[in-house]
Amino acid sequence: MSPLSLHRMGRLGLLPLCAAAPIAWSAPETPRAVMPERHRALLEQHCQGCHGPEKQKGKFRVDDLPLTITDLATAERWQKVLGAMNSGEMPPEEEKQPEARIKTDFLDDLSQVMVTARKSLGDQKGVIALRRLNRREYRNTLRDLLGVSVDVSELPSDTGVQGFDTVGANLFLTGNQLEQYESLGRDALEEAFQAHESAALNKKFRLEAESIHRVALKRNRDSLDAMERVNRWIRAVDEAAARPENATIVGELRKIAKTDDALRYHWKKIPGAPSPMEFGFDKTSEVNPAGVYLFRDRTDFIRYDEYYLGLPHLDTGSYLTVTAGYGATGAAVIQGLGIPTDFPPGEYVVRIRAAATPDAPAGRRFLEFGQKGFAGGGTPAMSVHHITGTLDAPEVIEIPFTFTRQSAERKFRNLFIRERGAGDQGKIAQVFQEARKRNGFGPEAALWIDWIEIERKQTPPEATPPGIRALGSIPFDKEAAAPEPEKIRTALANFIKEAYRGTAAPEGLVDRLARIYDARRGVGDTHRDALKQTLASVLASPRFLYRAEPQPDAEHRPLNGNELATRLSYFLWGGPPDATLRALAESGELLKPEVLTAQTERLLEHPNAAQFIRPFLTQWLALDRLDLFQFHKGLYPRFDDATKSAARQEVYETFSHLLKENGRLSDLLSADYVVINAVLADYYGIAGVTGDGFRKVALPAGSPRGGLLGMAAIMAMGSNGQRTNPVERGAWVLRKLLHEPPPPAPANVPEIARLAGKLLTTRERLRAHQEDPQCASCHRKIDPIGFGLENFDAVGQWRTTDSYQALDASGAPDPGARKTWTIEAAAQLHKGPAFRDYFGLREIIASKKENFARAFTSALIEYALGRPCGFSDETLVEDMVKQAGEKSFATREFIHALVRSKEFQSK
């Protein structure tokens, strides 16, 4: 009987959900980490002589090494064999070496067996450890409970160890962290109190763009005037210096002041030379004319101004300009766009009435919005917006954003809008100079702004967050007197139930909290502060920070309604259940399969599902690699921040689209459509897509796009920001798409150094991997896939040629040492089919729908259940793949199958 069928038998004992009896779990493990018998020969022929019963060199024997690994000690011994062979240490150089093919196969199998052994020995056997809220769940929970957004960036990211950030075993807690929870809880309550006090406040502020431009115009006129005055002063000094009677003095001065500019520093010594003050400059200019010279060279800007002032619609609006440095009319960044100081934190919307100029190129019809100080340093944009309005018919775009209390406290009230890329100083100087060379003045204006409006929205009473609502009628404004003790006790009990996601306050807790409240009052706290401190201790208590699923004995048991609701909402929303889900949980309705399915659907359709999609995909597909390196801006100017951010978004939006439409998961392998917005359409060269929203766009036949492999983000991850990395790409495809993860990069394999600096194509360079068994054992699987993807450059653009530029000793490009070649994407998969090009490779990968479904399923299990997906989960994996397979691998079916499983529904 195969291990699989054994497992199926184990599952026959599955009990219906509502049964209170402990649940029968799957059958015991059959060992899986087995080194094939045929490899014994290599050990016998090449190792046993020294490491056998007689010699036992280094006290290490291989003759009694079991082929089946079932314990750590055996695993360590095999690890030693693998390590010694990978490093080339064994067999010793002077000894006869195994045939390369045999050694390669040996290493290939052994490294896979070791992965299996590690997985098998580390299997948690279905146990889901008590889970703490991870960093983002904690943030989302406070948001849902109190309606606030706290800055959690100081908390550990929970990705420190391995696997998903939901895996309970990794969710540590330390004393420092517990104190951070206490202080963040207080912050959140303070913000919630303040927000509640100003909930009804609606405020609006509108900035007419022509007013900015009037300021800029005046600044410019002043600057022109200053220029004219400088030049008059210069002429006056030069005239004085030229007078024959001053020749001796000037001659002396010339010895120390070689240039005319330098000479004028000594104007006081030249009889008849006037003071800069006579020309309207200030006192310091008398001492140091450098400040005067500053105003002299404004000719660049004058030309630009002449152009600008000739533009239409200046009376009603202003253009966003792309200028390098101060001085031009108009505004590179809209100045003076601040949230007025009497506007409190809260939910905001910014509206901008804008248009693109008739001649603006497609790539420049984008506007960036951001908050100064939002992320510090270079101030990246928070969002990018496609401007589709025209000067005759401008459009109003709406940008919602949250103005947080932290921002308010740090006085981060400045907002900005700018043309896409205008924040990139290095690039802008280049763009400006190039345009000036071309047209004599600078970049033509592309975006026109009529007005900008900032509105602070009021919170309608029905949107009062549940944690605040739970406090009922007790006041918490700064002057409030303390209410009756009974009222406080009621409020505390209600708050606890909300914070504990439906679990009532355990006995004694309200008493203890009431004592904390009294103690705080006793040391002089106001009612408000004492209340805040008391509630904060709820937010640092284990029942809030952990998702407790009580289980006094080791038996598995079905979850109750509240627990199931909590698992479901943290899975699909990354946050606590809402009122609807809680009501169904408390009434027990949620335990009915059809209700559970309907709720799963509802949660997936809710905007909060983004809190599942983003973190899940980011971690599953390892998208954080996109931020591991800087993309070379000189080589890839089009892959700017806006493109990179849209490219990342494409991955989320495509999956989101599949969820929404319940589309086939295999569309991620190959599809005749993409889900993109205007930024990406421009990048991919697809016409007719406008606006910021992502939508499904059909692809022309023969397009390399469609599916993950055609996405700029995925291909860019497989580079180092400058050059493609076929190995990284190949390994990623094996890991994520084909579910044949290569073993972790082995230690101590000697690097291939002899090709350094040689003029070779990428394939020629990588061919060296096939020469040594240590390399070939993995690279024969990885590299061919990487070759098939070489038509995508380091930023995911299609290319047909590549080149290598060698550098000389000084590090400069050596003009004589450059090689350019046509990309040859044809290759053959190890023990698999050959393909002629990228399209052939994509077809092969797309045919492996089941592998992909299994990869996805394993990741989903790990993410949702918060523990590694082990061999003991094989039945679950098979069931999910089977159930989804019956519905053509429709994306939602995987989620339904998991939610229906006993693993999901029991502790």
Binding site: D123, L173, L178, S541, P542, Y546, E549
Partner: protein, 434 residues
């Protein structure tokens, strides 16, 4: 009353050693009377651990294996350390035998644990050498240890899993101060609250902790064994805070030391950031705020600050790539050696009250679990300082497969830490002892 009894009981039964500082301790007296220049007793031992992720350039960093002993030629990668040549030892041949990942330069560097050593778990670690030291050397200072890190730069710098170089007694990752500004504030932030109020606040903190403890006990009763093992972290956290509060209480009214350096500027990255962290370490030792320090150094931002545009991981695989990769790797080594030389300068220049220098009482450990690329053999290791009585000025080649933990054990014992073993140690390294 009941609550405080509870706590006492709780603290007694806790596994944590609660070492309360006593005001008459050496450390305090030294600080309180630094101006009068008293104190002539043996100076306390200090230990510094510096880890740099992606290893070194193996062609130009290691002295020749042939030139053992004091008369070796300093290789190019160590050139900036020339003026200290007789004051540090390069140890060659150390390994962490359980580590098989080529991407984890720091996870097990100071612990020597077997990642897979715990059946039923996919990851396991144990206490790091610095925390062992902190348990002994950290009793009399305001902070038992100071853990420094480089935040977001750590991941791409080849350190592997973890939140710093430090792992606590349960093998859990410890987080640390991520920037010079944070570290500075941790050490020198002034509490201007009146003493009475501080006492009242401590009392408040305790009653809140008592409640947290009750909450945890209530939950504990309903949980199964595995979950309780997890919840134990919560109990341990409360204990940690309690321990700290007790420490704080003992230090109540003792003025915070005046920082010997100016408050660092924000937004420094790379070379200047590391240099500043070193300055802060010296300041921490100078004020006797702590005696054990670790620092997980950034590599990726160091490269950027050196004008190298190659990402750190790619650089670490320089063999087989263009000369610019090798050059980047060597540039990194050189910069790191320069920084280390600067730190050693400062240790030598900083005087102790008895006229000796910090260098005389400090051990500096500088290295990584990765040699180059994915090579884990002969982990780069430099040991300096006279704090643990080791032999300096040598190119010490140890026998093959000597555990890194043997070196840590030698240093710990040399610093007066009474431990028999550490991690996978098999004994001390006799040749390292002066």
């Amino acid at each position: 009353m009941k609550a405080s009894l509870n706590r006492r009981h709780f603290l007694q039964t806790s596994t944590a050693l609660i070492a309360l500082p006593f005001l008459e301790s050496l450390g305090f007296r030294r600080f309180a009377s630094a101006a009068s220049g008293a104190a002539a007793i043996a100076r306390p031992k200090r230990m510094i651990f510096l880890g740099f992720g992606w290893g070194v350039t193996h062609e130009s960093w290691y002295p020749s294996l042939e030139q053992k002993g004091p008369d070796y030629e300093l290789p190019a990668g160590l050139a900036p350390l020339a003026r200290h040549k007789s004051d540090f030892t390069v140890v060659q041949g150390l390994v962490n035998k359980y580590v098989s990942s080529g991407h984890a330069g720091s996870t097990f560097w100071l612990t020597g644990a077997n990642e897979f050593g715990e059946p039923g778990q996919s990851f396991h670690n144990s206490i790091s050498a610095d925390q062992v030291a902190a348990g002994f050397l950290g009793k009399d200072t305001r902070f038992d240890s100071l853990v420094l890190d480089c935040g977001a730069a750590a991941q791409p710098s080849g350190h592997g899993q973890g939140l710093s170089l430090s792992w606590d007694s349960r093998g859990k990752p410890m987080s640390g101060q991520k920037t010079p500004v944070e570290a500075f504030h941790r050490l020198f932030a002034k509490d201007t609250t009146p003493l009475e109020q501080q006492k009242a606040m401590l009392q408040q903190r305790r009653s809140v902790l008592d409640n947290a403890l009750e909450n945890a006990r209530e939950l504990q009763r309903s949980l199964c064994k595995t979950d309780n093992a997890k919840l134990d972290e919560y109990f341990q956290s409360i204990r940690d805070i309690e321990t700290r509060l007790s420490r704080d209480e003992k230090w109540l009214g003792v003025p915070q030391p005046t920082p010997p350096i100016a408050e660092p500027k924000a937004d420094l990255a790379g070379y200047q950031e590391i240099k500043l962290m070193y300055d802060i370490m010296i300041a921490a030792l100078q004020t006797d705020s702590t005696r054990v320090l670790t620092y997980r150094q950034p590599v990726t931002t160091l490269l950027t600050s050196l004008d190298v545009r190659i990402d750190a991981h790619t650089m670490s695989h320089y063999p087989g790539k263009g000369p610019e990769y090798l050059e980047a790797s060597e540039k990194r080594d050189f910069a790191q050696s320069q920084l280390l030389a600067g730190l050693l300068d400062q240790l030598k220049e900083t005087r102790e009250p008895d006229g000796s220098s910090l260098f005389d009482h400090t051990t500096v450990v500088y290295g990584s679990n990765i040699r180059t690329g994915h090579s884990l053999e002969n982990c780069p290791t430099i040991l300096a300082g006279r704090g643990s009585g080791i032999r300096l000025g040598h190119n010490l080649v140890v026998s093959k497969d000597t555990p890194l933990c043997n070196a840590w054990l030698t240093l710990l014992q040399g610093s007066g830490v009474s431990v028999e073993r550490h991690g996978d140690s098999t004994g001390v390294i006799p040749a390292l002892i002066a």
